[in-house]
Subunit: 517 residues, 2 copies
């Protein structure tokens, strides 16, 4: 058994069954080995950012790592942006990065570069294989590292000869590190503090992210809030949330700093669970970086690597929180909107038609600012949010979610500018016949940057204005989709959109709807 | 004058007049400043790999750096692959990478990452700006670094507040470091060695790259070869070469190691000029990394950071080399090929129709293996070759070359798989109405990997075979081009190709021709 075969068998033993690939010469032994070792599905991407983003989406939906297969430093480089997002999502993920054969490395051949330095930018753990016999051990270490709570990107660099040379036997699935339990003293401290603040009439708030965004987690946070009269907020950039009818849906902190400050106004104690302190996405002149009031005391109930749900349950018990939740989303039979096409109506049409258990990959950015409200009356669904802010995430994450969840409808709500970073995703969706509907909001501009210019206080002259426009020429996403084998249509009225969406929801397989907004 | 304005003015003073941009929030002050400081043309790309590759193409054609404007770590990450190629091309290039405002960096906001580590993979020099008043000095250091012989990638990280805050005055153009002169003793040593080897009947060869690939450089190498009966070879991956009628065109060392070994068989002395020792692109089982015979002595006439042309002139004088060159390409009135479409006929059609002074960006890979032969009877032209081997180079380099050389026709001979890494280049070509004809060889596979599998000795099973195919679905480059505003057509016969190329050469502006081979 050569190194590549032993690697794949060890990964399969450890529960990894999908590899998103974009290989080159140095990874050919891995590619050949897939025919010799059963159990690893390989999914080809035309660009590495699709592969890494898909692995992120897959991990968010399964909790289990997929692996990627990347070609040397440049291949990893192309995957960096979505690995950055995966890092912020705390997605378990294993990068298999090829390297020149061990004896060839000293020659500084054209494709040689400092892979380790690149990997360091995004990886919680990096391994470098040095002998064929070390391959299965390196694979096991990557499996353990990727699933170290709360999950992280693990990168292993494999020289070509370690892959094609005879290796040692594959290893069994390793024991994983469980999440740490929260000290009962911490639970008590937070419970006492919340009670005392309530007694003194001091406003408090809970701020939740990570596993607290599950339906169960949001319910626990809401019950605790009710028990002590605390406001409850969610982290805007958590990887996966539950939303829709029946969910005790948390309000997310706003993106603009002044709006988030307003939400937290007057709070004297902020309890963080599954999240770090709330900070601005960017720094701005004359605005603080931290969002809470200056005199607000900060308390951590559970960090992301701890048992977040267990801590919430213990706190709810300690506070004798009510069993019923007041703010659960209720069902409002939504009418299909009609008339002129607007962003709001597009979302409301989706809410009205969404099947239960759908998954929404949301990178609509400025076209999604109020989507939590618009989607609250939809059938319960999961949504996958922007995490690290590196755009080009929505389409790959939708691709990976579709691989992870056959039988569930995936909807990718997608901004136009962001779509163009990883537009190659559509080809993989067509090749694998993934059940993804992509809705592209073609507003023909980098709308978010136009508002950021104002937020920084900059004057926008004609050349600057030109740098934020995408209308010369206007992108034609219907042609782009067709070029990659995905059926597509353009909606210019609300009725056209309703109909196109209905068809997409009725059929299976990839489809793109372009809306001019 | 704020930091961004002082930065741009200093760059303009230093001869930088083009910025390939893909900015985000942290770079908005730079974008706004372009309207306040004249002299910097900004060219928007939809993906950072287009911006960095275009800066490489621009530098290859002008010798002068363009700058890029990139958004934090992920933006730089997306640009890494083509910066790798630019590094191998020794292209002078300045990356302006935005960073969070200085006071905001400690909060580890979602987009924070280790930019310096990423930049290290590709940069010969890295600067990090820490105060607004330091901006012009950082810009000057980047100008000096980028043009340090033979040219390199210089990266400067600018926090947002250093850009939008009042800064010090712009600085004038700095003095640049000239290339080092080659020691006359080295010239003498090589001259004596070549003469002695000739006297002893020992085969010798010259191996040339970098500036030796100009028309003048190739002529000097050829004259020296004639003087001492040495074989002459060129480095396969030099950034820019002169080719066509009237050029003393050097034969490049082959990509497959056994073929290159055959070319160098029996050589006892190899003289390197503007190049390092010849090594395999990859390491393979049972093949050496070094291409020259084991008993071949290696001599360096001039390294890339030295005055390569001066050294060749001195050596030619020392050897009293003949003034006339025997192996100059001669004109053979080429007929337009007809009938079935083949790779060879496509190139011969190009050779027959090529206008003098055209520039060819060649990333056709397996469809380009014999292009030096096919293009030798074409009108004299420049060609821009693959340098670092990170695919997705051809279209951005063509884009940058077109910006650098208005009035010259740019032809991008492009493989299909590679095209898809930076296909967004077409939109920038449409937006700027660049005079680029893209010929896409749509062979519906990663052909090069299919041969690499065999070279490594691996058996290709059905799943592996599937990973090297691009025919499910087949990419439709005509639709992709139209989606980005570039007129396009598909040629299925040689006559159709001849005609499409003739139209493209007659008109100006971007155009794509897809050939099914």
């Amino acid at each position: 058994m050569n190194g590549a075969q032993s690697l794949i068998q060890t990964l399969v033993n450890g529960g990894v069954s999908v590899c998103f690939t974009n290989p080159g010469t140095s990874e050919m032994a891995f590619v050949a080995a897939v025919d010799r070792v059963p159990g690893m599905r390989t999914i080809l991407a035309l660009f590495e950012g699709v592969a890494t983003g898909a692995a992120d989406g897959y991990a968010r939906m399964t909790g289990v790592p997929a692996c990627t297969l990347l070609h040397l430093g440049p291949g990893l480089g192309n995957g960096i942006a979505n690995l950055h997002n995966a890092r912020r999502a705390h997605s378990p993920l294993i990068n298999i990065v090829g390297e020149h054969a061990t004896w060839h490395q000293k020659y500084d051949a054209p494709l040689a570069s400092d892979i380790h330095a690149l990997a360091g930018n995004v990886s919680g753990w990096i391994g470098t294989c040095t002998t064929p016999h070390g391959v299965p051990r390196d694979a096991v270490n990557a499996l353990i590292a990727a699933r170290r709570p709360p999950g992280q990107v693990a990168t292993v660099i494999f020289p070509g000869d370690c892959m094609w040379t005879e290796s040692s036997s594959p290893l069994p699935a390793p024991d994983l590190i469980p999440p740490a339990h929260v000290d009962p003293a911490t639970i008590d401290h937070v419970a006492v503090m919340l009670r005392q603040a309530q007694a003194r009439g001091e406003p408090t708030a809970l701020y939740a992210g990570g596993p607290a965004w599950t339906a169960h987690g949001q319910e626990l946070v809401s019950r605790i809030g009710q028990a002590v009269g605390a406001r409850v907020f969610g982290h805007r950039f958590s990887p996966r949330g539950a939303r829709g009818v029946g969910i005790a849906q948390l309000t997310r902190l706003a993106y603009p700093i002044p709006q988030a400050q307003k939400q937290l106004e007057g709070i004297k104690h902020l309890v963080m669970v599954g999240v770090t302190r709330p900070v601005g996405f960017f720094g701005y002149p004359n605005l603080p970086s931290e969002l809470q009031p200056a005199d607000c005391a900060m308390h951590t109930l559970a960090a992301l690597n701890e048992d977040v749900i267990g801590a919430l349950e213990a706190l709810a018990d300690a506070l004798h929180a009510p069993r019923t939740v007041a703010n659960r989303n209720s069902f409002v039979a939504p009418d299909l909107p009609t008339g002129d096409l607007t962003i709001e109506k597009i979302w409301l049409s989706l809410a009205a038609q969404l099947p239960e258990g759908a998954v929404i990959s949301d990178e609509a950015l400025t076209s999604s600012l109020a989507s939590d409200d618009w989607m609250s009356a939809a059938a319960p669904h999961d949504w996958l949010a922007v995490t690290g802010g590196s755009i080009g995430q929505g389409m790959p994450v939708a691709t990976g979610a579709a691989v992870a969840c056959p039988g569930r409808k995936i909807i990718n709500m997608q901004a136009d500018g962001s779509a163009m970073y990883t537009i190659q995703s559509l080809w993989t969706q067509a090749r694998e016949q993934l059940d993804v509907i992509t809705v592209v909001f073609n507003n023909r501009k980098y709308a978010i940057l136009q508002s950021e210019m104002k937020a920084i206080g900059l004057e926008v002259g004609p050349k600057a204005h030109d740098m934020l426009r995408l209308d010369s020429p206007t992108l034609d996403f219907v042609s782009l989709a067709r070029g990659m084998g995905v059926p597509a249509s353009r909606a210019t009225t609300q009725d056209e959109f309703n109909r196109a969406l209905a068809i997409g929801l009725h059929e299976t397989g990839p489809r793109l709807i372009e809306v001019l907004t």
